[in-house]
């Protein structure tokens, strides 16, 4: 069992961006869509196009992300889409309050005569909802594949986090392979003693309890390791003055472009919604016409 980061250098536009730029741009889009509560497809669609372009520019191989996309597809269609289609809730109240032709009824509790109407408004809302969610998700998915784990600590420091918080993050990334190795050794040692990892028997409580031979040794050893690290850091006077960082981050013109684009997206969403009243939910005529002619 090998713990490997999904990250691989690919020499792409996305990877040449400063990690701060990528975090800030992602938050600009997420907050641009959520703070002013944008539900207008004319705004969501261009943002989706931008997100998709950035995702494709990352050039992540399909075999790497296949499982993630299956999960996203199931999540979007079954949880987000189906829920929106049946209930019409989770967005603006206008989804269910505006008059809209009924496409068909779904018998949820047929015996009690409870038939859920699926309206054109609900159908359009479900599509909108999935697209909106996807716009945000495809900005988050490439991060572990395209961002060097060694720069997270520096990136957070440069975004304003304290030395202690940034160092915690940096240290966590460095500890990870060590503890993963310890965990592997523990699993192997317990297996050698007859521990059956693949066939945990018994009831639920028993099954969870039986995980303790794998968890306890690693956790307890880590607390001992921690004391040694604390001693080493104290001896080097950690925390007595401002720290310097080995990795340096500098913004390039492309970063300023992306940061500007992010700011523009956020400001435009806010101004359109609060200044001009554009961005609310509505069902476009072409969608209604598609069903009712």
């Amino acid at each position: 069992m090998l713990v490997t980061w999904k990250y691989r250098p690919r020499n792409t536009f996305i990877q040449r961006l400063d990690p701060r730029t990528r975090f800030l741009f992602m938050f600009s889009v997420i907050f641009g869509l959520t703070i002013p509560e944008i539900w207008d497809f004319r705004i969501i669609l261009p943002l989706f196009a931008i997100s998709l372009t950035l995702y494709l520019l990352a050039r992540i191989e399909w075999k790497d992300v296949r499982r993630v996309w299956i999960f996203i597809f199931i999540f979007l269609s079954l949880i987000i889409g189906l829920n929106a289609l049946l209930s019409g809730r989770g967005g603006p109240s206008s989804v269910t309050s505006i008059p809209s032709p009924v496409l068909f009824y779904v018998p949820i509790l047929d015996l009690f005569g409870w038939m859920v109407p699926i309206t054109i408004s609900k159908a359009w809302f479900a599509l909108n909802q999935m697209l909106r969610m996807l716009t945000m998700a495809i900005l988050a998915i490439p991060i572990p594949y395209t961002m060097d784990p060694n720069v997270y600590g520096t990136a957070f420091k440069r975004m304003g986090a304290s030395d202690n918080v940034s160092f915690t993050m940096d240290l966590a990334f460095r500890f990870l392979p060590t503890f993963a190795r310890d965990f592997t050794i523990t699993v192997d040692a317990q297996r050698a003693r007859g521990y059956e990892m693949e066939a945990l028997k018994g009831g639920l409580v028993e099954r969870i309890k039986r995980l303790s031979p794998l968890i306890i040794p690693v956790v307890m050893q880590s607390t001992v390791t921690g004391e040694e690290v604390i001693d080493a850091m104290d001896l080097r006077a950690f925390g007595t003055s401002k720290r310097t960082w080995i990795k340096t981050l500098t913004y390039a013109p492309r970063d300023y472009f992306m940061l500007g684009l992010g700011a523009l997206i956020f400001i435009t969403c806010c101004v359109l919604k609060w200044g001009f009243g554009i961005g609310d939910y509505f069902v476009p005529d072409f969608f209604t016409a598609f069903f009712v002619g």
């Binding site: 992300v65 915690t168 693949e198 639920l204 969870i208 880590s222």
Partner: protein, 182 residues
Amino acid sequence: MNDKSTWEFGTRQVVYGAIGAALYGVFSWATNIFPLPAAGNITFRPAIAVLIFFAVAYGPWVGLLAGFIGNTLGDGLTGWGFYWHWSLGNGLIGLVAGLAMAGISDFKARGDIIKAVGWGIAGIAVGMLFASLTEMWVGGIDLNTALFGYFTPAFLGNTVVTVILLPILMIAFAAVASRRGR
């Protein structure tokens, strides 16, 4: 074992925050490889007990950082991406559970273990409620889905794991700490 200044944030908190985060990340990732059989859509994440243990043993800052960074690492290792509200929700679990630290003097005393489990469950309630309700805003789900589709299974699953594994971790820690002498 630990000093009782709950909100201190020094070298000890930095190191144990990082260790807690790395362990939480590794165990979260590992349980994806060896999934625990579960009923319905209830998810079991044994790693949550490790997070709460670090919070209880080393305080709220350690809990907050271990939860936030650990969840980010776990998601990163499995390749899901970065979902800030779930990471923050996990951080809140640790932060609230860490408030138990000041009231715990003996890690193998029944009363202290119950206290730790109680704070842990309170942390799970706060953290998962935050993440589930934020999902309404970020993901656009409705209140029913947030409460019954996200919060309830996450709360129940994490609570079961905490009630079973946290006492075992605390008793083991008491033995290790007494041997170490600090």
